[in-house]
Symmetry: D2
Subunit: 311 residues, 4 copies
């Protein structure tokens, strides 16, 4: 296989303030599929176009935010290598046994990165019963059109925290992710933000230097087109969802985007398009004073508080 090692960000667990209200949001408005509930009351969901058991979990808590982001590796052997290399790299890690907190999932290597986030890596997961057709497939599973905005898959997350360069180095050197784009610090010497990917996606994860550890700026689900992004804005509006920015385009990744908040204040994104990344491409570099254009391509300046509001 040409796609080897860690191929994608593919599971995320987030904290929400009200479970049922959040379920209604992610299922009925974003269009995620409800897969199951865990014995401790979390809800597992997935995009209609994903094969894995589930890819997004909501957990009721006092504060919103991210519990962990997980990456999928191509084999158990790769996972074993990652465990060894993580220890060698010097980051604390433990192994979470199969079928403990995540139904259908094999063992996970769980790493604490310096930005304060928990990053899991796994290789095995059961196929969801609600998977895309495999035999004479219709374009939608069982020929049933997606509901809500039709989010088809988990896409990526933007993490905020201190010592971003060390987290990035881990993602590159141990997980083997490629760097698609970098935004420089004001003095041009350091990296303010780095966009990394395990495949053609322009990003699976991005990491931005930030004073407070363990923060998530947003996480994104995939749509198929600019038209879908526009229709999503229509549907979010009629459902009184607070839109933060967009529909618009990023300079960085060139993707079409819409930012909005879930009922708990977690910023979500719907993302479509973007170029196809290959590791033989040069890293695209943004000067600090062009970051506004990089994110808000049409307005060419950052929205007020855009980099301050996180969960």
């Amino acid at each position: 296989m040409a796609l080897k090692g860690v191929t994608r960000a593919s599971l995320m667990q987030v904290r929400v303030l009200d479970l049922e209200k959040s379920l209604q949001f992610y299922r009925d408005i974003l269009g995620l599929v409800e897969v199951c509930r865990t014995t401790d009351g979390r809800i597992c969901l997935k995009g209609y176009d994903e094969f894995d058991h589930h890819t997004f979990v909501i957990r009721e808590a006092d504060k919103p935010g991210l519990d962990f982001l997980a990456f999928k590796a191509d084999s158990d052997q790769t996972l074993t290598e990652i465990e060894a290399n993580t220890k060698k790299f010097g980051f604390p890690c433990e192994v979470i046994p199969a079928n403990s907190d995540q139904p259908g999932y094999g063992r996970r290597v769980s790493v604490k990165v310096p930005t304060g986030h928990r990053i899991d890596i796994f290789a095995e997961v059961e196929m969801s019963k609600q998977h895309p057709d495999v035999k004479n497939p219709e374009i939608w599973p069982n020929g049933i059109p997606p509901i809500g905005v039709g989010a088809c898959a988990f896409d990526h997350a933007l993490l905020f925290g201190p010592n971003a360069s060390e987290t990035v180095r881990y993602f590159k050197e141990v997980l083997g992710l490629g760097v698609a784009e970098v935004a420089k610090t004001p003095d041009g010497q350091g990296d303010l933000c780095t966009w990394l990917t395990g495949s053609n996606r322009p990003h699976d994860v991005a990491v931005l230097e930030f004073a407070h550890p363990g923060k998530v700026h947003h996480y994104a689900f995939k749509l198929n087109s600019w038209t879908d992004v526009g229709r999503a804005a229509d549907i979010l509006t009629i459902n009184n969802v607070v839109i933060d920015a967009g529909p618009m385009r990023h300079g960085i990744t060139r993707g079409y985007t819409l930012y909005f908040f879930d009922p708990s204040g977690n910023r979500c994104e719907l993302f479509a398009g973007g170029y196809a990344y290959y590791p033989d491409m040069p890293v695209r570099v943004w000067d600090f004073d062009q970051v506004g254009k990089g994110i808000f391509y049409y307005d060419r300046k950052l929205k007020d508080n855009y980099l301050e509001v996180v969960t």
Copy 2:
């Protein structure tokens, strides 16, 4: 890097009957960028969104068709391994020195596969001067909108020839491509056609069992959306290009598509969308009697002579 080994089909040389007429077609109508002419009179082109020196070459000849299709490997070491593995696999191969027939290209391993096609593999190529922006990039190189239909990159080719299963086995076992979809023979025992990929693309190459060796059914350039496919049909029409089929959708790959003929009778495709393939996905399988739907999703039957007209 998570994208390793052979990552994509990325260079093709085709025969055309009239060089200047073909240049006008590929450059002014499809929107490819003219890069250079070789000393022996061939013309090298590329998509505006590609970094490599060139990715598409036209050569004047008496008959249209394919000279060779080339894949890009991630390193010279991989190339050396492929050379050894090809010999071990038992297929004849030779090495074409750097900078011989393809300006800017490093050495290529050139293999004759049983379907009668020449397949090259290379690892090194110079970056084109007309590459996408790398520093504070605009969405188009230098902020100049693409011309014509705006084909942004070479995408894939469908090869026809005998002993398809052997060529497929080589693509899988030596080049490491993944199988995204398969169409079965009438008896359900064999494979009529196999779609293979080196990345998230749903296909880089497909191979169909056919009596005559070395044939190409079509080769495709990438567009960004269904809307671009529709606009391409408008632009081909006002330029009197013969449209073969579409705008429509494939069931196989789920891509949006438009087929048409270049001035020499080579069938071209403009392809957009399609799902993101990952190697942990099951192979999608089409029964023989559903192949019409697989290719012509809306009409649900093959167009007359669709499988007979090749070059």
Copy 3:
């Protein structure tokens, strides 16, 4: 008002072979709203974006086809004038009293035109309870997204019959419709087909010279965009609806189009776009040998039997 007299084709009654199957087709797949059933068992429907009580009626019968097409006039006074002018013009006409066969409708002037069709004209109709929002309106009634393909309104019909020029003359001289486009007969002397409109729509009705009287080639519902036409093809396909042609574009009207058959064999169209007609525009004229391009802009030739299959 600048839109005066007869402003649009806005009501149609068609024959279907199986009422419930047809309801399922028009309501669940095309997305029309079911308004009511008449005491004699017909079903009244409308597009979600229409204010009138209903605009489309299906009646169970032995043969498919058109019962009548009705136009809306701006006032009862205009209706009275049309009645007088129809008699003066020499066409048989009668008045159908208010609230007889069409619930919610005022009196209709019913005319038999030489092509063998029944054409009604009315001025008064109750507003549907399921009308678009009027107070702080959402983009969809009550903020509920359309279902199925989301047909938003009745759009137009293409009538086939003998003495087309006389029916056209009536539409122009008595109903006051404007001629947007004309296709000429092979000798260039006569009109094979005429496209007429009461507003900016490029057509409300078209009339084609044909040996058999009272035939309908197709009737169309409105979509909002090329993207909606593509999505409609997806939805018709997963519902196993037979697609006749498209997604494609017309040269005539420049509209985007998809043709398909209802369960009784009536050809339907989904139509989007097209230029905005104004009466000060010259009539656009198509030579007979260009009619293929006029209808099938991308293929530039008529599909086999396209002009023969009617109901």
Copy 4:
């Protein structure tokens, strides 16, 4: 004809600070066609999809803003009636002779309305040599794709001034325009803004109560789709045009929109879609506290200074 009387806003003359820079903006970026220059140095332009001689004129001056907005009437007889009715209505008006300041134009009735704007009405104008095809028409004139953002026609203007209700009453009672939507004043008693139309367009002109006379908030050119609006944002961005708001959607008219400034500070709009207005529709009414949603449907609040920045 069903479209009678005054059918559309169809000519506008605006003041710009630098003529050549403005020409470059309107021609090369917006894609208007340069038709001619007047002897006194103004430049006449038109959309590629318009038949009239020209529809947009730029005049170099010290301050940006609107010279006049003109409506087209269906006949010279209508124009004579409008002249008489204007005098009867009590507004000052004069007749501008044919071929004086506007090349190719017949006589115009020129009216000073209480909001401080000059409104012209005309009936006769020569057809432009660069008109859409009439004989076997391609979808674009001579089969040449539009340049820049591809603005196809003048669409509408939003006028600001005192005594808006009197200007509106004139538009309704003398010009015969229909009222599509109204936004109420804070007390719910009066009309803050009124949207009027002469055809299916959701608006040809809108008038908003404002302290300063003769102001224009924006004028709009037509695009064909949401996709075109997105592509326009791309093209404006690479040309460093200041985008004021959008891509987004209006609740009012339901159109897709993008606001930006010409080099002189005149706010322009690119507008696509919107419902088809008919005079038998009820007027849509917006409460004052919902006007933000009416204009900025996705953000649901007015952008700061949106109602203050005018020329």
